[in-house]
Symmetry: C2
Subunit: 152 residues, 2 copies
């Protein structure tokens, strides 16, 4: 296990603008794609109530989220570094809204117009379990307090 | 809605070697990454029993799977074309094993050595619900019989 997981994790989070949400759906768990930002250790998502994942989280707000190195033809698909989270998702509280919105738009600037749409809400996942998979057969748990100390 | 969704779906499946699996985990749904192939309309995955998603599917074999266009700096993160499946996952039956293995290795050639590892099993997801999201606000259900007619 490399000792520099903090640096690798920070690098991944700087490179990626999208992640994959796992929610409990009508027939089975469902994967969906969502652009994200990190703000104060939470994963910030901007979701439409018209989308199925948003309906799913109103029934069960326990979710998973993965951020994975984008595949390219020169990398093995078996060993793409990736970060997996589990936690609860809820609307960003009013007090944090402006700061979380700014953080989100820094990651996803072209989402600016969507903040004028009434069906979009800013959500945050507060991670309770975090796992870093640095490559093939290389996984480690990241304690929440270590995650919260990361400067991302 | 473009009329050429079949072509767009085929193109995406030819470009991507990885997808994102949603399984029911201990605390919440979980997202994991897995290289995949399509064989006879099923999504073929080669999973290790040491991995958490494999433990999850022994408890509940209803899963989700998403294949998404890789992000690049010149594409909007909001509108990446993607394909979402729900269905049941099970081990590939013995009769189909060799053909499914060949199909998988055509997509993921560097997984060849893993077939010698005792902890890996070839699984298939048989899709029951399929959705194509061609871009922002553009989603359509794909009936299973239309999916099965696609030449991918």
């Amino acid at each position: 296990m490399a000792d520099n997981w903090q640096e690798e994790v920070s690098q991944l989070l700087q490179q990626c603008r999208i992640g994959f949400l796992a929610t409990e759906g009508e027939y089975s768990p469902e994967t969906s794609m969502a652009p994200f930002a990190i703000y104060q250790g939470n994963i910030v998502l901007h979701l439409s109530t018209l989308a199925r994942h948003t309906k799913n989280i109103t029934t069960n707000n326990a979710v998973g989220f993965m951020v994975c190195t984008a595949e390219t033809s020169d990398k093995s698909a078996l060993s793409l570094p990736r970060l997996s989270f589990q936690g609860e998702i809820k609307a960003v509280p009013d007090k944090q809204f402006q700061a979380a919105k700014c953080a989100y738009l820094k990651y996803v600037p072209d989402a600016k117009l969507l903040f004028d749409f009434a069906d979009f809400t800013l959500f945050q996942i507060t991670p309770s379990h975090i796992q870093w998979i640095g490559g093939f057969g290389s996984a480690r748990k990241i304690p929440v307090n270590s995650w919260n100390k990361l400067n991302v």
